[in-house]
C-alpha cells in the first residue's frame, strides 16, 4: 500500500533498487517541478469549484433543476486562476523555506495536511452556511479561524507573512477587478463578500503552502 505511492514517508533507507523510468522522471528536477505544479493546480481548481458551489448555495435557497451548471456559474476563468495561484503559492512556500534556510518541520505529514485542508473547507463552509449577525462578526470569526489554522498547521513566521501579503494582494486585485466591472459578486451583499475575502485568501494560502511543502518534502526524500 505504501509502495504504490511514490516514496511514502515510511520508505526505509537501504539498498534502493535501480531507479525505474518513473522514479527517474520524478526525481528529475524540472519534471518534478512540473508534476508538483500540476498537482497543486488541480487541487486549486477543484477547491475553487467546490467552494464556489458553497458560496452559490448561500445566496439561492433552492436550486432550479439545472444544478450542475451552477457549478460553473461564475466566470470560466476563475477556477484556472485559482489553480494557477495555488500552484504558484505551493511552489513558492518550499522555495522560500529553502532560501531562508529554515525548512518547515512542524507536523510534516500527510494526515496533518489533510486535516488542514478539511479545516480550510470547514472555514468556507462556515462562512457560507452560518448566519452571522453582522459583517464585523463574520470578519472577526473568520480571522480568528484563519489564524487558528495557521497556528495549528504552520507556525512559521515566513508562512504567516507570506500569507498576509498574498491575501492582501489578492483582495486588492479582486476589488480592482470588481471596480473595473470585469467580475461581479453573485452575492447581493457586497460588504459580506469584502469582509469574507481576505480571511479566506489567507487560509487558502496557508493550506496550499502546506500541501506544497509536503509535496516538496516528498521530492527531497525521493532524491536523497
Amino acid at each position: 500500500m505504501a509502495d504504490s505511492t511514490p516514496g511514502g514517508y515510511g520508505s526505509e533507507p537501504g539498498p534502493r533498487p535501480a531507479p525505474g523510468p518513473y522514479i527517474s522522471a520524478v526525481t528529475n528536477r524540472t519534471t518534478n517541478l512540473v508534476i508538483r505544479g500540476a498537482m497543486l493546480f488541480s487541487v486549486g481548481v477543484f477547491l475553487a469549484l467546490v467552494l464556489n458551489l458553497l458560496q452559490v448555495q448561500r445566496n439561492v435557497t433552492l436550486f432550479p433543476p439545472d444544478v450542475i451548471s451552477s457549478i460553473f456559474s461564475s466566470a470560466w476563468w476563475v477556477p484556472p486562476c485559482c489553480g494557477t495561484a495555488s500552484a504558484l503559492i505551493g511552489l513558492l512556500y518550499p522555495c522560500i523555506d529553502s532560501r531562508l534556510g529554515e525548512p518547515h518541520r512542524f507536523k510534516r505529514e500527510w494526515s496533518s495536511v489533510m486535516r488542514c485542508v478539511a479545516v480550510f473547507v470547514g472555514i468556507n463552509h462556515a462562512s457560507a452556511k452560518v448566519d452571522f449577525a453582522n459583517n464585523v462578526q463574520l470578519s472577526l470569526t473568520l480571522a480568528a479561524l484563519s489564524v487558528g489554522l495557521w497556528w495549528s498547521f504552520d507556525r512559521s513566521r515566513s508562512g504567516f507573512s507570506l500569507g498576509v501579503v498574498i491575501a492582501l494582494l489578492a483582495t486588492l486585485a479582486t476589488q480592482l477587478l470588481v471596480y473595473n466591472g470585469v467580475f461581479q459578486y453573485t452575492s447581493p451583499d457586497f460588504l459580506y463578500i469584502r469582509s469574507w475575502l481576505p480571511c479566506i485568501f489567507f487560509a487558502g494560502v496557508i493550506t496550499m503552502g502546506n500541501i506544497g511543502r509536503q509535496l516538496a518534502l516528498l521530492t527531497v526524500m525521493l532524491i536523497s
Binding site: 467546490v50 458553497l54 433552492l62 457549478i71 489533510m114 462556515a126
Partner: protein, 1243 residues
C-alpha cells in the same frame, strides 16, 4: 520546582497509575466503556432515521392556536419542530362530482366536462366568501398566502400557476380560471396533458398540484368507469382564522351537501419537512467526506510495530466515532437539540477531535523497552505522553472556548458539540483505546514469547486426525504417485490471518448478509414509521373493522360504498346567506333518483393528501422560492363538496363541438376497462424497470461468475468426486501451478544414498557403498557408474588401477538399465552445459562413439539391487559374466574377462605424470583404509569432486567415470566440499580448510569442440576433456579455520562461508582464501548456511536461531529464534527466508524485517530438506513424498508420493535443478520430479 513541573509530575504519575489499571483489568474496563458508550448513545434512538419522509403531528382543530416560538413547560408531548407558525395552512376543498344517472345519450366526455366546469363556480364562491364577526370583516384576500413571482426557470408554468396573489390552485388554473376559456377548449384532456413533463418524473407533477389528488383518482379520463370526478381546490393561508374557515366550511357544505360523508373535522395535521440535499449540496459534502477519509487513512497508516495494525486503526476510528455519538447523545439528553445538519458538521468534528492522541499513545507505548512487562510498558508509554496530551487538550479546549465567544449561534453549537466530543474522546482514549492497546501489546509479546521459547503455541498441537493428513495412512492409490489434496479446513490454517479473515468473509458471505439484513431492517423500519405506511394502517384498522367492515383503505371506493345504502341523506337546511348562486342547482340532488350512482365518500378521502407524493407540498412552494426544508405546514381538515349533475343537465353545459368526436369508439375499449383506464406510462415504467432489473441481475450474475469461483460454497464436496485427470482446484478456484507431477525413479544404488550433487545437467549420487553414479538430469538415464575400489577389489582382486576403470561402468550401467534401456550413452551429453571452462575443447563425442561401438545393443538387465552392503562386487562380476559372451568380438583385449586393460592403461598412462608430485600411486595401494567412504561430493562441468573420509580429494570424470586426479595431502576426513569455478574448497574434520585449484594441462593439438554428426545443432560447450591433464593443486590450507569440525561449507559469489561446531561462521574470499569475517552470534553449533549470488547470508544453528548477515560488512542484520532444536535447512528467496528445523517445523520469515510470516507444522520425522523452485514455490521432502507449497499463502499445493508404500524412507536430500526439476533421494533410489508448469513459466 516550579508549579509547572509539579503539575507535570502529578499528571505523569496519574497517567502511570491509570495505565497500570487499564493493562491490569482489560476486560472489565472494556465492558465498562462499552456500557457507557451505549448509555450515552441511548438518547440518539429518539432522533429520526435518515431517509424517512416528512414527520407529522396532529392537533385538534378546536382551540388551535399557532404555537409560540418558545414553548414553556408544555406538558403535552410535542415535537421539537412544532414551534412558531407554520409556513402555510393548507385548506383543501375536496370536490366529488358525478353525472348521474348516466344517460345513453351522453358522450364519454360528459363524464368530466360538466363536473370540471363546476370548479369555476366554486372558485368564485370561495373567493367572494366574506366572514364578518366582531373583529371585522375577513375575506380570503386577507388571509391567504400571497405569492410573488415564480422562479425564473419556470416561465412555462406562468400560465397555470398563480402569480402575485393568493396561492390558490385548482384545475381551473388550466384555463386561467376563466369559464370562457374552458368552454372553448376543444380537448380538455389535451390541455391537461400538455403540461405534463415528458419522461419519468418522480416528484409531483403539475396535474397533481392542480387537481390535488393523484392523477389516477381524478377520474378525468374518457374511460373512467366510475364517472366520478374528484379534484380539490387548494388554498394556502398565511394566518389561521377559525371563524372565516368555519363559515366557509359551513357555506360550502350547505351549498353542496355531502350526504354520506363522515369525514372528521377535528384534527389538523402538521407536516414537518426535512432538508433536502441536492446535488449542489452533495458535492461539498462528498468532498469533505473524502478529505475526512484521506485524513483517517493517512493517520492510521502511521500505526506501526503492533500486532494487528488494522485492529488498532479500527479501534482508533471507533474511539472517535463513538465519542462523537456520545457527544450528540449527551447533548440531546440535556435538551440541546441539534439544529445543525449532522452530516455536514460531522467531518469537521472528526477533524477537530482528531486521531492524533491515539497515534501518539500508540507510538509512545510501542517505543518503550520491549523487555518490560506489558503493564509497565503501557503505564510508561502513557506517562511519557501525558504532558503533551494534556497540553494539546487544553489548547483545543481554549480554541473552542474562543469559538464559543464568537456568539454566533451555529458556531456556539458546534463548539458545544466539540467540547463534549473532546471530553468524551479523551475518556474513550484513556479507557477504551489504552485497554485495546494493552491487549494488542500483550498479544504481540505472546507471539514474541512463542518465538523465543521454541514452543509453538500458536500452532495446533501435533495430533493425529484431519490436521495431519500425511501421517494418516494414505488412501489406496492406483498408481505409485498420487496427487493428494488436503481438506480445506487444514489448508486454511496455513493462510495468513488477514487472508483467512477475507476467505472467511467470502465463504460465509458475511458482509453481504449483514448488508442485506441491515437493508431489510431499515426498509422495515421505514415502512413501519412512514406516515402513509404500516403503522397508520395498523392504527386505522380497528375502526374500519368496527364501522365499515368491507371498506379497505386501498380498495375501490365505488365498489365499497355502493354497497352502503344512501339512506341517511338528511334533508338539507335551507341556505340562508346565499347571494348569487342559483338555488336550482343546489336543489338538484333530491331530484336525482336515489338509485343513481352515489358519490362515494370514504375514510381515505379524509386525508387525501397522504396519497400524494411527499414532495407535493415542497415542490408547490418551491415554485415560489419558498422552502419547506426544516419547516412545517399545517393541513386543515378538508371541506367535502359533492356535486350531482343530472343527465339532462350535463348536455346543458356548453359542450364543445369537437367533444362528440373525441373518443371515437369507447365501446370496445370498455371491454378491458381496467387496462385502458390505467396510465399507459405506468406500463412503460414497469416494462422499463423489469428490463433494467433483468439486465442488472444478468450483469450481477456475470460479475459473480467472473469474480467468484464456481464451487463457491461446496466445501469438500467436489473433492470426493474428483476423478483423476481433473485439475485439483480448491475452494477459492485457485488451481495450483503444479498440474501434473510424476516422479521418475532412478534405481541403481544398492544402499542408501549419501551424497547428491548436481550442476544442473548432470547428477551425481553416491551411496553408502561408495558407488558413485552419474545420471542425466534431463532424462534420468544413468551415464556412469564409479564403483568403490574396495568392493571392486574384493571381487576381482585385480590391480588398483581398475577401480577407476571405464568398462565397469559399462557393465554397471547396463545392469541397472531397467527403465531407460537401449543406449543410454547417446544421451549423456545434455544440450546445455554450464560454461565453466570456456576455452576447453569438448572431446566427449569421441568417447561416445567409442562407447557405442563397444556396447552391446541388448543390455542384460541386472537383478534388482539387494539390501546387503558389500556384495556389490559379486553382482558386478555376475553382470560381467553375463555380459561377456555376446560381445567378445567387440573387445579387442584378450584379458577382458577379468578387467578391461584399456581403462587401466588409460589411467596408468596418466599416473606417472601425476604420481611424483601428487602422491598418487599407480601401484596397488597398501591398505584399504586410506580410501575411505565418500563424505562429500560436488559436481561441476563433468568433474566430480569427492571428498573421502580418509582425507582424500578425488576428481572423477563424470562421463567417463575415470579418476582424473587425486590429492591426499590432508589426513583428516573431508566433511564438506565446495566447487566453484576452478577452485575446490574442502573442509576437514579437524577444522581446517583447504583451498585447491584445478589446473588443466592441456596437451596441444586437442583443441576440439564437441560436434559429432547428428548433433551439430548443439552449441559447443566446454568440458573437461578426457585428454586434459587435470591437476589439483593445494593452494592454501587454513589449518585452524575453526576450533571444531566444520559442519557446513557453502560457496557463492566469490565467498566461501563455513560454519562449525564452535558456534562461529567464517567468511573467506575464494580468490585469495583470506578470512574476511568471523561471525559470532549463535550459541550453538552451526547447522545450516545459505548464501547465494546476491550475497545473502543466512545461518542457522543448533540453538534454533537464524541469523541474517550482511556479507559486505559482516554485521548481523537480524537474529530470530524459530525452532526448538537444530535448524536443519535454510533457503532464501527474494523476499523471505525459509528454515526448517528438527522440530519438523518450517518457518517462513520476512527477509527484510525478520518477522515470521507463518510456519508450517510438518509431521514427525519428515526430513529437513528444502528447496525453492521459484519465488513462490517451495518443495519439502517428507516421508516418502515431496510436498509443494505456495510460499505466498503457506498453502499446500500438492504432495507427490515417490513410491508405492508410504512408509518409505524420508527424503533427506533435495536438490532443485535449473530446469525446474527436483531430485531427491529416496532410500537407495533417486527420484527425479519434474514440475512442468513451472518449467513453462521459466521458459
Amino acid at each position: 520546582m516550579t508549579l509547572r513541573e509539579r503539575l507535570r509530575q502529578k499528571i505523569s504519575a496519574a497517567f502511570y497509575h491509570h495505565g497500570l489499571l487499564c493493562a491490569s483489568y482489560p476486560v472489565p474496563i472494556i465492558l465498562f466503556t462499552s456500557a457507557s458508550i451505549l448509555t450515552c448513545c441511548y438518547p440518539l434512538l429518539r432522533l429520526p432515521l435518515p431517509g424517512t419522509g416528512p414527520v407529522e403531528f396532529t392537533t385538534a382543530v378546536r382551540g388551535y392556536a399557532s404555537p409560540s416560538h418558545n414553548p414553556l413547560g408544555d406538558p403535552v408531548e410535542r415535537p421539537d419542530w412544532y414551534r412558531g407558525p407554520p409556513v402555510a395552512y393548507i385548506q383543501q376543498v375536496l370536490v366529488k362530482a358525478a353525472v348521474s344517472p348516466w344517460g345513453s345519450n351522453l358522450l364519454p366526455v360528459d363524464a368530466f366536462r360538466p363536473p370540471l366546469g363546476q370548479v369555476f363556480t366554486l372558485l368564485e364562491e370561495i373567493r367572494n366568501h366574506v366572514h364578518s364577526d366582531s373583529s371585522g370583516v375577513q375575506s380570503l384576500e386577507h388571509l391567504c398566502l400571497q405569492v410573488t413571482d415564480l422562479l425564473p426557470g419556470l416561465r412555462r408554468m406562468q400560465t397555470v400557476l398563480p402569480e402575485h396573489g393568493c396561492l390558490l390552485v385548482s384545475p381551473g388554473n388550466y384555463w386561467q380560471n376563466q369559464q370562457e376559456l374552458f368552454d372553448s377548449d376543444p380537448d380538455l384532456l389535451k390541455t391537461v396533458q400538455k403540461h405534463e413533463p415528458k419522461g419519468l418524473h418522480t416528484s409531483a407533477t403539475l396535474r397533481d398540484l392542480l387537481f390535488g389528488v393523484p392523477g389516477k383518482h381524478t377520474g378525468v379520463s374518457h374511460y373512467s368507469k366510475k364517472r366520478v370526478v374528484t379534484y380539490t381546490i387548494t388554498i394556502a393561508l398565511s394566518t389561521y382564522d377559525a371563524g372565516f374557515l368555519g363559515s366557509l366550511r359551513a357555506r360550502l357544505k350547505q351549498l353542496h351537501p355531502s350526504a354520506n360523508c363522515s369525514l372528521g373535522e377535528e384534527h389538523m395535521v402538521h407536516v414537518h419537512f426535512k432538508e433536502e440535499i441536492g446535488i449542489a449540496e452533495l458535492i461539498p459534502l462528498v468532498t469533505t467526506y473524502i478529505i475526512l477519509f484521506a485524513y483517517i487513512y493517512f493517520s492510521t497508516r502511521k500505526i506501526d510495530m503492533v500486532k494487528s495494525k488494522w485492529g488498532l486503526a479500527l479501534a482508533a476510528v471507533v474511539t472517535v466515532l463513538s465519542s462523537l455519538l456520545m457527544s450528540v447523545g449527551l447533548c440531546t439528553l440535556f435538551g440541546l437539540t441539534p439544529t445543525l445538519n449532522g452530516g455536514e458538521i460531522f467531518p469537521y468534528l472528526v477533524v477537530v477531535i482528531g486521531l492524533e492522541n491515539v497515534l501518539v499513545l500508540t507510538k509512545s507505548v510501542v517505543s518503550t523497552p520491549v523487555d518490560l512487562e506489558v503493564k509497565l510498558r503501557i503505564a510508561q508509554g502513557l506517562s511519557n505522553e501525558s504532558w503533551s496530551i494534556m497540553k494539546n487538550m487544553a489548547t483545543e479546549l481554549c480554541i473552542i472556548l474562543i469559538g464559543y465567544f464568537t456568539l454566533v449561534p451555529a458556531i456556539q453549537e458546534f463548539c458545544l458539540f466539540a467540547v463534549v466530543g473532546l471530553v468524551s474522546d479523551f475518556f474513550l482514549q484513556m479507557f477504551f483505546f489504552t485497554t485495546v492497546l494493552s491487549i494488542d501489546i500483550r498479544r504481540m509479546e505472546l507471539a514474541d514469547l512463542n518465538r523465543r521459547l521454541p514452543a509453538e503455541a500458536g500452532l495446533p498441537p501435533p495430533k493425529p486426525g484431519p490436521l495431519r493428513p500425511r501421517e494418516a495412512p494414505p488412501p489406496p492409490r492406483p498408481s505409485p504417485h498420487t496427487i493428494t489434496l488436503q481438506t480445506p479446513a487444514f489448508r486454511n490454517l496455513r493462510l495468513p490471518k488477514r487472508l483467512r479473515v477475507v476467505y472467511f468473509l467470502a465463504r460465509t458471505r458475511l458482509a453481504q448478509r449483514i448488508i442485506m439484513v441491515g437493508t431489510v431492517i431499515w426498509i422495515g423500519i421505514l415502512v413501519y414509521t412512514d406516515p402513509a405506511g404500516l403503522r397508520t394502517y395498523l392504527a386505522a384498522q380497528p375502526p374500519h373493522l368496527g364501522g365499515m367492515a368491507p371498506v379497505f383503505p386501498g380498495g375501490d371506493p365505488a365498489k365499497a360504498l355502493s354497497v352502503l345504502p344512501a339512506r341517511e341523506a338528511t334533508p338539507l337546511p335551507e341556505n340562508q346567506s346565499q347571494r348569487h348562486l342559483a338555488p336550482g342547482r343546489v336543489q338538484e340532488q333530491p331530484r336525482g333518483p336515489p338509485a343513481a350512482t352515489q358519490v362515494p365518500w370514504g375514510a381515505e378521502d379524509e386525508e387525501g393528501w397522504r396519497r400524494l407524493s411527499f414532495r407535493h407540498w415542497p415542490s408547490l412552494f418551491s415554485y415560489y422560492n419558498i422552502t419547506l426544508a426544516k419547516r412545517y405546514i399545517s393541513i386543515l381538515p378538508v371541506i367535502p363538496v359533492t356535486l350531482h349533475l343530472g343527465p339532462q343537465e350535463a348536455p346543458e353545459t356548453p359542450r364543445h363541438p369537437q367533444d362528440a368526436r373525441l373518443p371515437p369508439d369507447p365501446i370496445p375499449k370498455f371491454s378491458s376497462p381496467d387496462l385502458q383506464a390505467a396510465d399507459l406510462t405506468l406500463y412503460k415504467v414497469a416494462a422499463l424497470g423489469l428490463a433494467a432489473g433483468v439486465l442488472l441481475v444478468l450483469l450481477l450474475f456475470c460479475l459473480y461468475r467472473v469474480l467468484c469461483p464456481r464451487n463457491y460454497g461446496q466445501n469438500g464436496v467436489s473433492h470426493g468426486r474428483r476423478r483423476r485427470g481433473d485439475l485439483p482446484c480448491d475452494d477459492y478456484g485457485y488451481s495450483p501451478p503444479v498440474s501434473e507431477i510424476s516422479p521418475l525413479l532412478l534405481r541403481g544404488h544398492s544402499m542408501d544414498i549419501e551424497c547428491l550433487a548436481s550442476d544442473g545437467m548432470l547428477l551425481a549420487s553416491c551411496c553408502l557403498a561408495g558407488q558413485i553414479r552419474v545420471w542425466d538430469a534431463q532424462t534420468g538415464d544413468c551415464l556412469t557408474v564409479i564403483p568403490n575400489h574396495k568392493l571392486r577389489r574384493s571381487s576381482s582382486s585385480g590391480c588398483w588401477e581398475q577401480r577407476g576403470g571405464r568398462d565397469p561402468c559399462v557393465g554397471g550401467d547396463s545392469a541397472s538399465e531397467d527403465e531407460g534401456g537401449g543406449f543410454p550413452f547417446r544421451r549423456h551429453a545434455p544440450p546445455l552445459r554450464p560454461p565453466l571452462f570456456t576455452d576447453q575443447p569438448d572431446l566427449t563425442p569421441l568417447i561416445d562413439t567409442n562407447f557405442d561401438s563397444r556396447l552391446p545393443p541388448s543390455s542384460v538387465h541386472a537383478a534388482p539391487p539387494r539390501g546387503a552392503a558389500f556384495d556389490y562386487g559379486g553382482l558386478v562380476e555376475r553382470a560381467y559374466t553375463e555380459h561377456e559372451p555376446p560381445s567378445p568380438a567387440a573387445y579387442p583385449s584378450p584379458s577382458y574377462s577379468s578387467s578391461p586393460p584399456t581403462a587401466g592403461f588409460a589411467n596408468c598412462r596418466r599416473s606417472p605424470v601425476e604420481a611424483p608430485d601428487r602422491g598418487f600411486a599407480c601401484g596397488p595401494p597398501p591398505a584399504a583404509e586410506w580410501e575411505g567412504s565418500v563424505w562429500a561430493m560436488e559436481l561441476r562441468g563433468n568433474l566430480i569432486a569427492a571428498g573421502r573420509s580418509s582425507g582424500k580429494l578425488q576428481l572423477w570424470d563424470a562421463v567417463e567415470g575415470s579418476l582424473r586426479c587425486s590429492n591426499e595431502e590432508g589426513a583428516s576426513g573431508i566433511t564438506a566440499l565446495a566447487f566453484l569455478n576452478n577452485r575446490i574448497v574442502a573442509a576437514r574434520l579437524d577444522g581446517s580448510l583447504d583451498f585447491f585449484t584445478v589446473e588443466l594441462n592441456k596437451p596441444p593439438g586437442l583443441l576440439q569442440y564437441r560436434g559429432a554428426p547428428g548433433r551439430g545443432s548443439m552449441p559447443p560447450s566446454p568440458c573437461y576433456s578426457s585428454d586434459d591433464l587435470i591437476s589439483c593443486q593445494l593452494t592454501r590450507s587454513v589449518l585452524c579455520a575453526h576450533q571444531k569440525p566444520i559442519t557446513v561449507l557453502r560457496a557463492a559469489a566469490g565467498r566461501v562461508v563455513t560454519g562449525s561446531q564452535d558456534h562461529t561462521v567464517r567468511v573467506y574470499r575464494l580468490d585469495d582464501s583470506c578470512c574476511l569475517f568471523t561471525l559470532q552470534g549463535h550459541s550453538g553449533a552451526i547447522t545450516a548456511i545459505y548464501i547465494d549470488e546476491t550475497m545473502v547470508l543466512a545461518s542457522g544453528g543448533q540453538d534454533g536461531a537464524i541469523c541474517l548477515w550482511d556479507v559486505l560488512t559482516g554485521s548481523r542484520v537480524s537474529h530470530v529464534y524459530g525452532h526448538r532444536g537444530d535448524v536443519t535447512s535454510l533457503v532464501c528467496t527474494n523476499t523471505c527466508v525459509i528454515s526448517s528445523g528438527l522440530d519438523d517445523l518450517i518457518c517462513i520469515w520476512d527477509r527484510s524485517t525478520g518477522i515470521k510470516l507463518y510456519s508450517i507444522q510438518q509431521e514427525v520425522g519428515c526430513g529437513d530438506s528444502l528447496g525453492v523452485i521459484s519465488d513462490s514455490l517451495l518443495v519439502t521432502g517428507g516421508q516418502g513424498c515431496v510436498s509443494f507449497w505456495d510460499l505466498n499463502f503457506g498453502d499446500l499445493l500438492q504432495t507427490v508420493y515417490l513410491g508405492q508404500t508410504s512408509d518409505g524412507q524420508g527424503v533427506r536430500q533435495l536438490l532443485v535443478l535449473d530446469n525446474a526439476a527436483i531430485v531427491c533421494d529416496f532410500g537407495s533410489e533417486l527420484s527425479l520430479v519434474y514440475v512442468p508448469s513451472v518449467l513453462e513459466k521459466l521458459d
